[in-house]
């Protein structure tokens, strides 16, 4: 049996691990040990790491809890901590909020205002506030309001707290995607595809996002190229569940057999995901893929390889039943989002 490790040991273990549940486990234990021993600054440090890791590997709720704690500590003694790091992670937290249907629209708007006020109080550019407002209204499916924020944020100066240009560009692409302007989406993707804009998540996200616009414009040859390249970048990464859904959507139409590979390889990542929105999209796209695959001759007698932890009791060979299972989950969650948003935006996205 393992004896209790001290804070430093736990953190050291954690730092050696790749981002993922195991690393999170060590970090959480480190935070607990720090708490028990009254090591406030260490507890804060551990939670900074938790926020970082959890945000990018599918545990936005864990990130939120740790961040809330940090913010509480920070407000008590702001001089003890680095506000830049904290407010930078606030952006992650804020960006994830709309992905929880349980959080009301009002709360999200309040969070946005709180975020804006904090940025303002540190003299940061208002650009971040308007940029996140732009994103949040996109999430709500209120494109007009989102567009107004878009116009506003572009005129404001960047500062070191602004999201990187590549990330901003990707969100702008999403906006035109929602508006149905495929040409504009692809035009905006250009600097990313040419490698002039990039970061830790770009072009990873972009390469999957442009598949459907390219498909609709009949440019499948290019799309195939980007599909392969994009999948290689995101394979096995918990952070890209939404991208997997975009991959599946495209492959359903062009190469369902390959789509099934993607489904089998990524389902374990999606099923355990705390981000309800990404998971919903994934389930929504898995359903038509299974239906389409069932029509293929090769799918005769095919049983979908489900992860051991997957809570589906039925026959993995009944592809249509499985498709219903996925579709149902997606619709239930979409309905929750619709109720929160007060419109039918989310369910129309997966219809």
């Amino acid at each position: 049996m393992k004896t209790e490790m001290d804070f430093e040991d736990l953190m050291e273990e954690a730092y050696q691990l790749p981002s993922g549940p195991a690393k999170l486990g060590f970090l959480e234990e480190a935070a607990r040990v720090a708490d028990v021993n009254g090591m406030v600054e260490e507890a804060y440090e551990a939670r900074s790491e938790i926020v970082d890791v959890a945000t990018f590997c599918g545990y936005p709720m864990k990130a939120l809890i740790a961040f809330s704690w940090q913010l509480g500590k920070f407000d008590q003694q702001p001089e003890l901590y680095d506000e830049e790091t904290l407010l930078w992670s606030y952006k992650w937290i804020l960006g994830k909020m709309p992905d929880f249907p349980e959080i009301s629209r009002e709360k999200i708007m309040e969070l946005l205002e709180d975020f804006g006020a904090r940025f303002k109080s540190y003299g940061y550019s208002e650009r971040s506030y308007w940029y996140y407002r732009f994103r949040i209204f996109m999430d709500f499916g209120e494109l007009e309001e989102s567009g107004r924020s878009y116009d506003k944020f572009r005129t404001l100066d960047r500062d070191f707290m602004s999201d990187c240009e590549a990330c901003e560009q990707d969100e702008i692409m999403r906006y035109f995607m929602l508006k149905g302007d495929d040409e504009k989406v692809l035009e905006l993707a250009k600097p990313i595809l040419k490698g002039r804009m990039s970061c830790a998540e770009i072009p990873h996200l972009t390469l999957s996002e442009i598949l459907m616009p390219l498909y609709r414009l009949g440019r499948t040859e290019e799309a195939d190229k980007y599909q392969v390249k994009g999948y290689r970048l995101i394979k096995g990464e918990n952070d890209f569940v939404q991208s997997f859904s975009e991959q599946m959507e495209y492959l359903t139409l062009t190469n369902p057999a390959k789509g099934i590979d993607v489904l089998e390889e990524t389902l374990v990542l999606a099923a355990d995901h705390e981000d309800a929105y990404a998971k919903m999209l994934y389930y929504a796209k898995a359903a038509p893929l299974l239906r389409r695959w069932a029509e293929e001759k090769e799918s005769d007698g095919y049983r979908l390889r489900l992860p051991a932890s997957f809570p589906y009791e039925g026959d993995p060979g009944d592809l249509l039943k499985l498709a219903d299972y996925f579709a149902e989950h997606a619709q239930t969650v979409a309905a929750k989002f619709d109720q929160r948003n007060g419109n039918t935006h989310v369910s129309s996205l997966i219809a």
Partner: protein, 611 residues
């Protein structure tokens, strides 16, 4: 002749422009500033040879879509062909005569003509300049492209002296060419320019800087036109201000208005003041022109004695800046001192919003501390109070050196109605220590946790055994609050219970508490998601056996009464400890009160019945 090993740098202009736009300037919109600076310099140069000359700048927007064009015209000195070669063919060459003048910053020109013009490539793929020098010669046309190529030709017609710059906007930059935007930006940069700046669009002409106010250059007049000053600040700085302090230096070459920020500002906030050099906006983010402690104001400052850095967004740190900064700091301090003497309400309001800034200054400056000490807020066992009130209460002021120390003693201290200041926040400890120095009738004393009598005495096992049933009842009543009961003896004996938290549940509670005091946003967000968060540990409610009521509760447990009494003691302990209560706990409080009233009344009636 030996082969020369000397070569010339081949500068890639498009690369340069990339650098300019991404690293030197904070936003493409500065192209307008650069154009205005060039115009201002040209007009200044003309005034030097023609005193009393009336300069002006005109900006015209024509066309739409990819034909959208901006023309910026000034009636300044204009350029000869030789000037064009000198300034536009050699990047970095300045229109300022003589390198030394440039370094000294003692020149009447702001811009560097060539580099300034390059910034236009951030919004346009071509720059066309028509110019006529006052020295005569033919009118010239210069056309530049971002790849570094340009053409020069003589025009057939003779233009009137001055320079016109034409820009055709790139698709990405369209919003920098919208009339409303241009108008605001021109005002923003040129609000103080001493000549008219006219915008022409759709056949409408308007002078952008019509109301350049006199009080900006003569701050002593500002107080009498308060509303105007505030409105001007709102338009230029984008915030609704309620107060301001005027600034001047001894030389009279720097001055301005320090607007008091209408919202609280953090200690580490970026200080960004707007500074006009020679009445042209030079920096929107001058961080170093006021002392560190002056983060509660946002200023409009004009100066003609400081030297800007290359991006013209800051000033060079030199002795001159040092001098100006300390003089501006003095001006602010004087403004505050005036308030302390004549308008205490105004000062009070300011301190409520900007206590941290005021404390920062007070630590540095005892005289200032003495002046404003009454209004500085502190957290104490009697709530958030102003120092003046605390002093008037006449006791020795005890303070803790850290927040943790305060935590440990504040329950017991408040139970003993002992006044303790939580001086664990930044500056507070120093201020408390300094207080007797500035006010000799006041005593302050730092207190350590173990000085407060909070030593618990254990209860002997035999005695504890007597309380077995009562403790069982207590534990089951407290279980739903994830709390357990324990018996101890402690002082003061009129304190029936003391509540302590395990670290884990303390985390959740600290969160609720923090949000209750500032914003309950995050805890309520967590509340919406709380389903998965049940792992918090147990807290402890210490029952004080030295307390007569507790003694009675413990010695005669009553299945009905004891659980309710314990619950009430629990919520009472939460209240005393300033813990935020959750709904369940509040309900216990409400129901408990009603029940006790009910019991009290019934008991009364029964007595009457007995009688």
């Amino acid at each position: 002749m030996a082969a020369s090993n000397e070569y010339r740098f081949q500068v890639n202009l498009s690369g340069m422009i990339q650098i300019l736009s991404n690293h030197l300037y904070s936003s493409p919109k500065v192209f307008l500033r650069e154009l205005m600076q060039n115009a201002t310099d040209a007009i200044t140069a003309r005034k030097e040879v023609e005193p009393g000359y009336q300069g002006e700048a005109r900006i015209e927007l024509t066309g739409t879509g990819d034909q959208l064009t901006m023309m910026v015209e000034d009636n300044g000195v204009g350029l000869t062909e030789a000037d064009i070669h000198e300034f536009l063919a050699m990047i970095g060459q300045s229109s300022k005569r003589g390198q030394q003048a440039l370094l000294d910053g003692e020149t009447s020109f702001i811009g560097r003509f060539g580099i300034g013009l390059l910034s236009c490539f951030m919004v346009s793929h071509e720059i066309v300049m028509l110019t006529q020098s006052i020295k005569g010669g033919p009118s010239m046309e210069w056309r530049g492209k971002p790849d570094g190529t340009y053409t020069i030709r003589q025009l057939d017609t003779q233009l009137s002296p001055g320079t016109k710059v034409y820009l055709r906007c790139t698709p990405d930059a369209a919003h920098y060419f919208e009339a409303e935007y241009v108008k605001e930006a021109l005002f923003y940069y040129g609000a103080l320019l001493p000549y008219p700046v006219t915008l022409i669009h759709d056949g409408v002409q308007s002078v952008v800087n019509q109301d350049s106010p006199i009080w900006l250059t003569r701050p002593e007049l500002a107080r009498s036109c308060r509303a105007e000053v505030l409105a001007f600040g709102e338009r230029l700085l984008g915030e609704k201000f309620q107060d301001f302090i005027t600034l001047t230096t001894a030389t009279g070459r720097t001055g301005g208005i320090a607007y008091v920020l209408p919202h609280a500002v953090n200690l580490n906030a970026k200080r960004s003041h707007r500074v006009y050099l020679k009445r042209m906006l030079i920096s929107e983010k001058a961080e170093n022109i006021l002392p560190e402690w002056a983060f509660f104001v946002k200023c409009l400052i004009w100066t003609d004695e400081l030297q800007p850095t290359a991006s013209r967004e800051h000033f060079y740190e030199n002795e001159k800046l040092e001098e100006v900064r300390s003089e501006l700091g003095d001006a602010l301090r004087t403004g505050l001192a005036d308030m302390a003497e004549n308008q205490t309400e105004r000062l009070q309001k300011l301190i409520r919003l900007h206590a941290l800034s005021m404390k920062a200054l007070a630590v540095q400056d005892q005289a200032f501390y003495a002046m404003i000490h009454r209004w500085l807020p502190f957290e104490t066992t009697r709530g958030h109070r102003e120092l003046g009130e605390l002093i008037d209460e006449g006791d020795t002021l005890y303070y803790t050196g850290s927040i943790d120390e305060y935590r440990q003693i504040h329950h017991v201290a408040s139970a003993q109605s002992m006044l303790v200041v939580n001086a664990g926040y930044i500056y507070d400890k120093e201020l408390m220590a300094m207080l007797p120095v500035i006010l000799n009738h006041v005593q302050t004393e730092r207190i350590e946790p173990d000085e407060v009598s909070m030593t618990f005495t254990d209860v002997a096992p035999a005695e504890r055994n007597q309380y077995y049933d009562a403790l069982r009842l207590a534990d089951s009543a407290l279980q739903r609050f994830r709390c357990r009961a324990e018996v101890k003896g402690f002082k003061p004996s009129d304190l029936p219970v003391l509540f302590t938290l395990s670290q884990e549940s303390s985390t959740l509670r600290a969160l609720e508490k923090a949000s209750e005091e500032s914003t309950d946003l995050f805890s309520s967000v967590l509340g919406s998601l709380s389903a998965g968060i049940n792992s918090a540990g147990y807290s402890t409610l210490y029952l004080n056996v030295n307390n007569p009521i507790i003694k009675r509760v413990l010695t005669s447990p009553d299945n009905q009464m004891t659980p309710i009494a314990i619950e009430m003691l629990y919520v009472n302990a939460l209240m005393m400890g300033h813990y935020a209560m959750n709904k369940q706990e509040l309900e216990v409080l409400n129901q408990g009160i009603v029940r006790f009233i009910d019991w009290g009344l019934r008991a009364n009636m029964n007595h009457e019945g007995d009688a």
